[in-house]
Point group: C2
Chain length 230, copies 2
């Protein structure tokens, strides 16, 4: 008997690396999906390639080119500055940060849906997370449930009664719990990156929200973050 | 006072050309959105460009590059033959045709959602249609409603209580009713194409499902289809 297939969204960040390890340990055959979307921090893609290559459950890794810059409106894809040293100020705010990329998760999940339909997978995994600061509307459980409902109506699989599931196993975990879980599963976090605005050397800035959250989590665990900071 | 903005999905086909005219006549300022997705019938894009250029309500036309071939699984994007002279046989069938592109409408609407969010539009228009043969799961009203619900949860606009709407004004119209409506609005249908598999000259094959439906509709209206057939 062959394993069940899953599609895993793999950015190369800490969260999606952990999701990959979780799905792998659950015994799925994995189609990892990454996007070359004109992101400022394209070093992510190199990390994604390494993570996919090293994981024996990954039977294929698709990198899909798409142009989110044609949408614009985000510090991650347009000429808007990534905020530095602002995490302490914005934590607890209900504002949506400028690093929010409009409809990004919806677009990524839509591609995952298409791939799932073609390869015959019913399980799609995403590293969405609501804990710590983010306020991204498309990381909330109610959003993911609505996407799943839509996905069932959108597909041939759904019409045949095969229900596609959107899994977000990190949804309710704090960043330090995610890291702890990942370490138990043997992840080498030196192979991930979280920074929104890394140097050309690949070193993380240590100052953007993503770096601040990551650093605080490693500190909370009394562990050293194995990646290089500027 | 400025007009309300709308995002209109514009393929260059007969349906989306009609939607464009409807939205234009309703007084919206339009951001037309087309996709260069590795379609076999890329002459569509030329038609879309012309339609957008000629319509005075179109304030911008974005053509987004994306690689649906990386998904595959469809006669429109992969090396699967487009069926010819089969429309009479499949009409009334509940099978999903091989020209169905997995998750295509979901992907297109997701991009429209991102653009709407960035330009401040709350109205998205798509030429989806359930009449005549198609059986595409992502053209059904229940799918479009589920997408709309998801879209409201996905966006900053939705969080602020601004409800994004997905409009499919052709949903319940037969192809001949669509053409009649379009002619009333002054559309020149020679500027559209429907064929799934046009010749390099741009002429339509006359034999695929899309051609068969189009030809039958013009015949029903006792009108000559102004486009060239092979």
């Amino acid at each position: 008997m062959t394993n069940k297939k899953a599609v895993v969204l793999l950015s190369g960040g800490l969260d999606s690396a952990t999701v990959l390890a979780i799905v792998s340990s659950a015994g799925f055959d994995i189609c990892a999906l990454s996007f070359d979307y004109g992101q400022r921090h394209s070093i992510e893609l190199e990390k994604a390639r390494m993570l996919a290559k090293k994981n024996k459950s990954v039977i294929e890794h698709r990198i899909i080119k798409l142009d989110l810059r044609a949408i614009g409106g985000s510090a991650l894809t347009a000429d808007i500055d990534v905020p530095k040293d602002k995490y302490a100020e914005v934590r607890g705010s209900t504002d949506i940060p400028v690093t929010y990329v409009p409809a990004r998760n919806t677009i990524f999940l839509s591609f995952a849906l298409g791939v799932a339909e073609v390869i015959g997978a019913l399980d799609i995994f995403i590293g969405a997370n609501v804990v710590d600061y983010s306020n991204y509307p498309d990381c909330r459980p109610e959003y993911l449930e609505a996407f799943e409902r839509m996905a069932r109506l959108a597909t041939a699989a759904g019409i045949k009664g095969h229900n596609i599931k959107i899994h977000a196993p990190l949804l309710a975990l704090s960043k330090d719990s995610i890291i702890k879980k990942g370490l138990e599963l043997g992840i080498d976090y030196s192979e991930t990156i979280s920074c929104y605005s890394p140097a050309t050397s690949g070193a993380s800035c240590g100052k953007c929200d993503a770096c601040a959250i990551r650093k605080a989590a490693f500190e909370k665990l009394n562990l050293e973050d194995p990646i290089a900071y500027d």
